[in-house]
Symmetry: C2
Subunit: 338 residues, 2 copies
């Protein structure tokens, strides 16, 4: 018998999430049924959306069930197969969850996808050439839809989504401005990720102060904004939006612990004829091939060089995840499982 | 010489608008130049957007200049013409402002439009078959874009926009719910305007209470919302929006006096993948012919029977306008000038 380790959601957070919400357990990997494959996970992806699933609240997805392994994207290798679709040694990406192994029904559409690691490292299929990259692509291309010369902004600029956003927006001839926390991240955003300017929101105590800084960074105003955080950052950006600006709402991490997170100036939606649109990338599977193709090319040609924060071993997943929620990671947060 | 009376914007409101912001004056109608026509106004339209123009604040339009007649839509009759495009006796709609006469450059595109009063009373060209009607049409058809069976909601339900919205939405097979102030308006909305249900927001002290009432009125949730007011009403509706709901933002009258008007739950934009879009109907002139054609037909066939509140004489315009801002009008607010 092979032993699997799993991190379960043990109980729901009251306010801020903590390590005590999770529980590490050992189980045996079950014998495969016909049509199943066994995947050994190499990397687990940690993403802000997971925090929302921990709550027992109505959202776009059901709450994550207690006592089961946390949901999560994984890349790994097929180590046993009872399906003609996959062979031992295939590199695959899937939603294996916070565990070392997963048993997958190979015939289930979209459950497991073979990937090519010739030009793209396996881990990048969880980031720039995976869900976060496609998320950036959808928000930028389908909602913001910039033309060359537009000014576009993103919060959480050095994260997996922000990194891809910068490369995609520069490829479209935009003036690209990031918002991130701390001088190291801002420096990296400009020097490595291609942002024209990056603003350190930690230097600003309120939306008006941040908004003044945005005015300097965006002398022609803001045409498109990709929202990952909400709160004061959203308010500050809205004060600088041009007429007919577009805001793609991907995340509001500032409100994930349940604190009130009002939008201070919704009347700007009217006075500037803004479009504010929320989206979930998994509901737009039709764009994935086109998006992954562009993202893979950007990575393969060195135009997108995403940084990774890698925690070691499954047991480190809870702390790494809590750090991600506080912005302690630098680039795409992964857990190495092998 | 013919004497004209005008209501000027004399000074800007500090907080709430008041009659002292306006000034009634007499002037002489100037002699016409070649290419000009003189219009005697029969009706002046009063609309909430005028309140925004009184402020000295950045918005979609420049502030209204002090010492000039307030902006406003008018219908009337050509009484003198030095243009081949118009004859004495023509019934016309234009933006004549708060005055009894206006001199119009006939060649200026869109400045003056001849209308047919065979099936549609002249005053309706300021309401159901005019700017407010097209406003309802654009928000419903172009932003909310409902399908038959969708539940769609509008605030300020018995106003000029709300009345047209109900008829347009019923024609598309929607379940149509209004929000209005007071039992008389709600009764009228259901009995005369075709709303399936109308909720009296004055019975509710907060967004949660109003939201419960919306739950009963909209058992399948809300697919589209046309926003005229903002504040607590917007919060209450957002709590009931279905996934992929659309909110057309046309007005936020609750914040016109400058008080803070936050949106309490912007995270719902993400969790329900909402689209929230502001618009100004005068920026979409391409839809006017199609919209006016449908609205004219609805009025001509009796499917849209808009109510009018008519104040008598130009001097009554300021008080009638201030009443409109407080919801004292019942249906389209006009001033009869002849």
């Amino acid at each position: 018998m092979t032993t699997n380790h799993q991190v379960l959601l043990d109980n729901r957070p009251k306010g801020e999430a903590s390590a005590s919400n999770f529980k590490l357990v050992s189980t045996d990997v079950p014998a495969l049924q016909e049509g199943q494959v066994l995947v050994r996970h190499h990397f687990l992806s940690l993403d802000p959306y997971m925090r929302g699933r921990m709550n027992d609240a109505k959202s776009y997805a059901d709450p994550h069930p207690l006592g089961t392994p946390m949901i999560g994207g994984t890349v790994g290798e097929v180590v046993e197969s009872r399906s003609p679709k996959f062979s031992v040694g295939d590199k695959v990406v899937g939603m294996g969850g916070w565990q070392e192994y997963s048993v997958v029904e190979a015939s289930q559409f979209g459950a497991l996808r073979k990937v090519d690691t010739t030009h793209v490292p396996l881990s990048h299929y969880l980031g720039a050439v995976g869900m976060p990259g496609v998320t950036a692509w959808y928000g930028l291309v389908k909602i913001i839809a910039p033309k060359a010369g537009d000014t576009v902004v993103v919060s959480a600029a050095t994260g997996a989504v922000g990194s891809a956003y910068a490369a995609l927006a520069k490829a479209r001839g935009c003036h690209v401005v990031g918002i991130a926390g701390g001088p190291d991240k801002c420096d990296y955003a400009v020097k490595e990720l291609g942002f024209d300017v990056c603003i350190d929101y930690k230097l600003h105590k309120d939306a008006f102060s941040l908004s003044k800084s945005l005015k300097d960074a965006c002398p022609k105003g803001i045409d498109g904004y990709f929202e990952n955080v909400g709160g004061m950052v959203l308010d500050a950006v809205m004060l600088r939006m041009n007429a007919f600006g577009r805001i793609a709402v991907c995340g509001m991490i500032a409100g994930y612990d349940g604190q009130p997170l009002p939008m201070a100036y919704p009347a700007l939606i009217l006075s500037n004829r803004l479009k504010v649109e929320g989206f979930i990338v998994s509901e737009h599977m039709e764009v994935w091939p086109e998006a992954l193709n562009e993202l893979g090319t950007l990575v393969g040609t060195g135009k997108l060089r995403p940084r990774e924060s890698v925690a070691q071993g499954l047991a480190s997943a809870p702390e790494a995840f809590l750090g991600l929620l506080k912005g302690k990671n630098f680039g795409k947060q992964l857990v190495k499982l092998i």
